[in-house]
Symmetry: D2
Subunit: 379 residues, 4 copies
């Protein structure tokens, strides 16, 4: 195993924990344990055999990067880990491990388990950003500012309205991230994707395995169909695009001198006040979009299993979550230190009457606040 080759520098503590080799191996072990449990549920193995496998998977400590790298080098990503699981098991238990499954079953299922944690983390992060935006919008509903279209002055508007317009799509993304969980499906198709090795019990085993993992039990396996992983990535990318929008607008407003958002220093100009968290959010969101493009623009899998496109997801999927997490966290920080220069905003308006804009702003802020409250109450 080579040493870690580079550090993306765009992640969060939680995403680093979940979307790491260790987090991936943990997901695979959960899959293998659940499969053994399901085999016992339908009576194909005894509960004690299943218990032995589950205990082994629970207790196993491995060098995750190493064991994954060895599998990859051998062209069979799961074999070293399966050998490690089976070592020290009774013959019955060893033969029950991974029964009727293929590498892609374990790997895809693990990615879905990881994605579940990642989606929840992003949702929580957006909730935090949303609360800050809601409070800022309420505080600034009567603050007049210059609207800008094509970056040109376009008359007065309520700053609260602008902030509410930033918030409105985030409210929908919070729901979309929840709905994206419908795509977190068990993968269990065996060699050809038809679960033939599980015979007449195939549907029951799949249902029981999915239930044990808290995943959706799909009607079929999806080795050659990436629409589920695609939908998960699409929801994250959509979220990041809106994060990019808000962060980008903060950078613009800081450029106009109408807000400050942090105090990034410069190695050559010590008193600059760079909106560094907003810039970081923009950068992370752009990398997220590129990672998402690996999945969204992937060539379709060839017949029963892709020859390259699926393997590319192994890198792209974590990259998308790392950078999305970083983008949301950075936006949250940026909103936390946002300071508005009301005088500068008034100055830009140059005395234009803004009464109607404030009235309109109250309506916009109220509408979005109500929508956010509804999401907040659902939790």
């Amino acid at each position: 195993m080579t040493e870690p080759t580079f550090d993306p520098g765009f992640s969060t503590a939680e995403m680093s924990r979940v979307f790491s080799p260790r987090g991936h191996v943990a997901g695979i072990l959960r899959f293998e344990a659940a499969l053994a449990g399901a085999l016992a549920d339908v009576g194909l193995i005894g509960p004690d055999v299943a218990g032995e496998v589950e205990a082994r998977c629970l207790a196993l400590e491995v060098d995750a990067p190493d064991i994954l790298a060895r599998g990859w080098a051998a062209g069979s990503p799961l074999l070293p880990l399966l050998e490690e699981i089976r070592a020290g098991l009774s013959p019955d238990a060893a033969s029950a491990v991974h029964r009727g499954a293929t590498s892609q079953d374990a790997i895809d299922t693990a990615l879905m388990l990881q994605a579940g944690v990642g989606l929840d983390a992003l949702r929580a992060g957006l909730m935090g950003c949303g609360a800050k935006l809601r409070d800022l919008a309420a505080a600034h509903v009567a603050t007049p500012t210059m609207a800008r279209t094509l970056l040109q002055p376009a008359g007065p508007m309520s700053l609260g309205a602008r902030l509410a317009l930033w918030l409105e799509p985030l409210v929908r993304h919070i729901d979309e991230l929840e709905e994206a969980r419908d795509n977190l499906a068990l993968q269990l198709g065996g060699l050809a994707g038809d679960a033939a090795a599980h015979g007449m019990e195939a549907a029951a085993i799949a249902t029981a395995t999915a239930a044990r993992l808290g995943l959706v039990a799909p009607p079929t396996s999806w080795h050659g169909d990436r629409s589920r992983s695609r939908a998960v990535v699409a929801a994250v990318a959509a979220t990041c695009s809106s994060v990019d929008k808000v962060a980008g607008d903060i950078v613009l407003l800081a450029g106009f001198g109408e807000v400050t958002a942090g105090s990034g220093r410069s190695s050559s100009m010590p008193d600059k006040r760079n909106p560094i968290d907003a810039v970081r959010a923009v950068a992370a969101a752009q990398v997220c979009a590129a990672g998402a493009a690996v999945v969204l623009g992937a060539r379709p899998p060839e017949l029963e299993r892709a020859a390259g496109g699926w393997q590319a997801e192994w890198l792209a999927f974590p990259l998308v979550f790392h950078t999305a997490g970083a983008a949301v966290e950075a936006l949250d920080r940026s909103l936390g230190v946002l300071e508005v220069d009301q005088e500068r905003m008034l100055e830009a308006l140059g005395g234009v009457d803004h009464a109607a804009a404030i009235v309109a702003g109250e309506r916009v802020v109220a509408a979005v606040t109500a929508a956010f409250s509804a999401v907040e109450e659902r939790g």
Copy 2:
């Protein structure tokens, strides 16, 4: 106006009608008529004034490419068309036209109206493909064939199961295209996006305009938030990706000599039987993905209206629908002429026992057929 600069060659009759300059102008006129009607609904103008505007919009015949090109050249895409609408109206009616609206309101709303027709057309097209796949899967549930992972032989499977695995994501896309309609929202924000010009009646006018157009009435305008158009495009791109998968697999199977799918001729080898419709579907799907990337990878709009990113959507949005329509239509044709060479498939299996695979195939085909029937019944 320059002559039409190029013909994409990847479209359908319906998409050509809807996503043309003429179709776009028709959408704008519907918006302007509905807005006038809504202004009357809330009492801001008289019903006769509204009626005069509506009649004018309904009857107006313009040279659509020319009037759009002139607006674009002047940097104000709507002005020539508004002048044309107002010409010949009474002063009251002329002054009611486009009241409180901005160009982006009309253009975005027109695109949403066009997208509604486009989504329905794609959904109908997928239904047709799905019915063909369902019938093929039923007919071939007992046909054994060689599964291929990484394009390598991977044991026997039911051809019906493979066909059902192709169908399964299409079933979900049919639903997703329907759900994508939730993003077809009225755009109505006026200059700064806060609908200030409509005063206390803003919400009522928006609700009435949306109702007249069969669009969602969103809580706010979305000039600077592209998450709605993005979601529409994402649903179309996801569909196209699965179309690409099925068509690509047909090309591969034709390469293995296990199916034929049409008889494209060659200018240098007359007896070739190229799977030309499947190739066309793959090509159109790739262009669709690129068009989608304009929207999915767009830099975020700057503050209250984008300086470039939104304008790029004007070309990308139609391109996505033209090519998606072409891809679905070509897949449908390809499935319509698909012929299976059962002997060749048996030969590839070389006598391997396939009884278990056929049993598994029955389960897979039944599960997917049930899912498709449920969608079909919903209509």
Copy 3:
């Protein structure tokens, strides 16, 4: 043939002429004429037979969109046109047409001929932009302005230096567009790409055909290798990216009120002065980048000829040139109306000493001006 399905609205008169169905058919006819001439050059057909083919190709008038659409529908893009060429020819001449060639030979060669005109047009357009920037830089070398990094104030700089830094990459792009011509290669491989049908004369025929067309004669055909078309598109996309940079900066400076660049009107705010040409350049450049991504991100061709990826180029290639042409033209217009508000710039500096910045600016302007002059002299 359906009516033209949409008008991109991002093109120029020249690109519309060259990258149209008519322009494409003209390229194919030039290829067929040159091939016949080359066959005569090496003695495989008589000069009178070649002359008959050449005269026919020169004189032929066809409905270009229709004949291309019919070929595409039949799955053999060239057959209808070849039948049209052969109609009315003597049997000897008819049998000499397209001898040893395949559809891809004619289509790829035609695209290369079109690309040659397109590259020259872009180069000329950049020269015009460059001259304007050179003059502006010279005029403003002593104009102090506020540098902005991360959009934050970063101390004084010469406006001339900023303009020269815009110009510097354009100078290199002018050379790169010229160098990209090295990729304009004849395609001539016949059915399998090995030119077997031309026997021992294959190399001589290729050399003669290329010479007649002013194209590079490559060592082999390149049906399954898209690196040449890719390199052409990459050069155009690189150019467009720098155009996007300059136009985007103009929009930003207009936002800061430090320049104006045109007077796009608004349908709701008549006295706005939108930098409409710069916005158009940004929009066109974004679509260009997406079109380029079809080629740059294409899945590789399968074996001897791609099943989808190549066909996608037919739409992407023209799209790239149309939009690149539009972007360059729009930037040129924007630079032509650029007006600098020196007082506003001084005001932003707030009295900071800028003497050193002006001195540095002189150096930067002189260096870039020298580089541009060198390119201008080469022509």
Copy 4:
């Protein structure tokens, strides 16, 4: 500093060494040492002061991931490292460190130094692949095989010709990777990009610094112009696209049973012979393309320094080289174990006469071999 967040698993030993935090810090230290040397060259500091800085930079051992992460967290990526360099220096030497430079100067220059090693490594890797392809083409010039267009049988061809057609673009990429070195330019512009802090000596300092680093001395700095880093990435991406083509074709031929290329095992079917290195090459190449798209599709930098787009390059640039290295290495391995099943190839031809194809193949192999030999001799 969080623990390494994920391991791409697509890299090589050399790329892991160069494109790591340690490799990046090494590049920054080389920049700072060279700048001090250049300041002495032009007489702005004494040679002993420069020597002290150079010795410090040479000897410094730091925890590279940590020191970069701390800088990034503080919004000033270079400050912690500069403090570390200055610690223990005499006041004169400490004040000479980084004089007149800005963070972007050091970071961009370091990336260019890293890219130089990366380009050489890719070039050497391609040379190895090329030699294998040349030998294979020579060995199989008389081996007849079925050509396939659109994956359909297209008549006989020489297998050697196919292999030579794979090699031909690689020969040009070897040159292009060399030419891409012309873009490896020093970055040295100071705060506003005009090198004002270096006064009249600016050009001389830049020339001397570049010479010490073996980099091109550009006429100006390029903070806001990414065309150079873009050109480097474009050359790597073009290479990877052709690697993808060859590897993808190997997977296809293995699918047809006409070659084997390695013996990747399956966790569920032990006697499969998956072409695992070719699959890995395809996967790595796809991720490379996505990383490249971050740079090639980046939104343009805003004025004097990008607010997000440049920072995204920090992750994308290493990702491109890691995955490109992995793709080339995997292709090399795949070619090293490629075995041809001549009988199967003959069988597919079914007795068709292939004499003309072999003759044509000799010409193609000879032409490409000559081109490769010319590149090999240049070294």
